[in-house]
């Protein structure tokens, strides 16, 4: 397998400012591209000799709305003592604004929705991850790469279905995985894990109807973030943490 270091150096040298960020972590190269540049950069990545990424392996939609959120204070003691349970709607319920949620995702950061493309070059045997953030959180739009790799067809349909990211230029952007007539984008962090509606048989109407979900969501294991010293690179100072 080709050295990721050389790919990293070459990418930085060749694209320079056109890539918002290039990182090398755990032997994997990640590049961040602005939406306006996406199709041009991707076409170059496929066709130009040093890259030759012939295959689009996968596209993952990501919703960063709850990134870094946890449910337990882990950094300091409290005067009232810890509670074992998680009673309030929070990140652990994965429903920030659903019918059980109260925390709306309000501020538009332009860093909420992203599509992550995994590229593979069979001729050079290297991989690259490209991340592209949609600029508008309320209406995330990204250019489609179906013209570059036909494999993007279903991958983009999936990201549209689950995250509501609209891919401009996609020939047939329909829902794929969810039910016919489904409302909402279920993998968004403000969509509750248990869903909003459930089907049941209505004996009076003699058919299956949809009603609100009746089950109570529970958190069995709270989501915690521990700033574990084992993972701190040697030499870096401990950061000041306001709270957990």
């Amino acid at each position: 397998m080709a050295e990721p270091e050389s790919l990293y150096e070459q990418l930085r040298g060749r694209f320079g400012e056109r890539l918002a960020e290039v990182r090398l972590e755990r032997g994997e190269v990640t590049a961040e591209v602005r939406p306006a540049e996406l199709t041009a950069v991707m076409a170059q990545l496929r066709d130009e000799q040093p890259w030759r990424f012939e295959q689009l392996v996968d596209i993952a939609g990501v919703d960063y709305a709850a990134y870094g959120g946890d449910e337990w204070i882990t950094e300091r003691a409290t005067s009232s003592g810890f509670s074992r349970g998680v009673t309030e709607p929070g990140f652990g319920r994965l429903g920030l604004t659903g019918i059980y949620g109260v925390q709306p995702v309000s501020e538009s950061t332009g860093r909420r929705f992203a599509a992550v493309y995994h590229l593979l070059s069979l001729s050079h045997n290297h991989r690259l991850r490209v991340r592209c953030f949609a600029e508008d959180d309320d209406m995330p739009v990204l250019p489609s790469v179906t013209g570059i790799w036909p494999a993007a067809d279903w991958a983009e349909r999936e990201a549209f279905d689950l995250y509501g990211i609209v891919f401009e230029g996609h020939p047939d952007l329909r829902r794929l995985l969810t039910d016919y007539g489904f409302v909402g984008h279920p993998f968004r962090k403000d969509f509750p894990l248990i869903g909003n509606v459930e089907p049941r048989y209505d004996p009076e109407k003699g058919r299956v109807v949809y009603g609100p979900v009746e089950i109570e969501p529970r958190v069995l294991v709270p989501r915690v973030i521990r700033d574990d010293n084992r993972y701190r690179a040697p030499g870096t100072p401990e950061e000041d943490q306001a709270d957990g």
Binding site: M1, E25, R26, E28, T30, E54, Q55, L56, V57, D58, A60, V62, D63, A66, Y67, G68, G69, D70, G92, R93, L94, V116, H118, L122, N125, R127, R129, W149, P150, A151, D153, W154, A155, R175, L176, L177, T178, D179, P186, F187, L193, V219, L220, V221, P222, R223, V224, I225, R226, D227, D228, R230, Y231
Partner: protein, 417 residues
Amino acid sequence: MAEFQSYTLNFGPQHPAAHGVLRLVLEMEGETVRRADPHVGLLHRATEKLAESKPYNQSIGYMDRLDYVSMMCNEHGYVLAIERLLGIEPPLRAQYIRVMMDEVTRILNHLLWLGGHGLDVGAMTAFLYTFREREDLMDVYEAVSGTRMHATYYRPGGVNRDLPERMPQYEPSPYRSDKELREMNRAREGSVLDFLEDFCERFPACVDEYETLLTENRIWKQRLVDVCPISAERAIALGFTGPMLRGSGVEWDLRKMQPYEVYDRLDFDIPVGTNGDSYDRYLVRVEEMRQSARIIRQCIDWLRENPGPVRLDDPKVTPPTREQMKDDMESLIHHFKLFTEGYCTPPGEVYAAVEAPKGEFAAYIISDGANKPYRLKVRPPCYYHLAGTDEMIRGYMLADVVTLIGSLDLVFGEVDR
């Protein structure tokens, strides 16, 4: 007579040849397919979202249920991603066990595929033969993990437990004589490794048996040769991996090209096709079964000679033994923390791919430092194969749809996730 240009045909989701819950909307002109529109998602369980609500280890079992005929390979991709995130590497013996079980899984998967594909195309006997061997491998699964299918055997830092010393045996019953019982238990006298060795000994002859039934069979060839071919360039562009790509003549196998675990220490060949049609994909998969048996043999030899730990001795990630836990306060705390909270991974992202029987299976994990993944994306090989159906089927006949679906080796547990 009514005049019509084309009509629409619903294929599935209840059709036996649809391999589960595929709904294929076919636009037909006479008996020729003009366009195919697969409707998937009837088995969508939001596995990836469920994984976001659970500690890392609790989702291993969900991976089995993605591609439910190549269970351990799915676990492998997921566990490998966690290990890379944590920066740990399992002991060598665990790596050999994983490779061996991966290859057992590959044979399991290809046997089911071969039997099912034969059944679809009209060859009943192969199905009966392949399930005979499949049963033996299911017993191996049961012996090492306790279950026949959903093993949850791989863990970050190794595997759940070492290979058992005894292979379970058939019990006496009024319905079989002592002689029959002895014959059935003949290979089960020793350990799991002895049983697998015996299996590898007789398996090539079994593959020959399947081949005498199919490879030169005139009906089989009429149904498969030159049906739904795909060129190497298109296969790459459409995101095809695994036997679907190798059938078109591209020598690409992650076990060779980007070796993980101990594949770089093992000797095996990568079969490739030439025409990229359904028949070549059949030949590739049959040869892969022989190669898998070869890999298993090498793993058995190594595992016999090298006893040792199968789990990393890192109490933050792997649980202590029962004895340690009863004996030692520190271990008790570790055990409690591990099973109530799990472990936190360092923030970052990682993409780990394995060569599953169907193609490249990968897990992409984004971590924000919590004890649960922030985002888990599973890369299922079949999803992209099915997406290419429309291009491959155009211009072929209705009967070829069945051949193509069989040849894609679809499992909807992983297409729909």
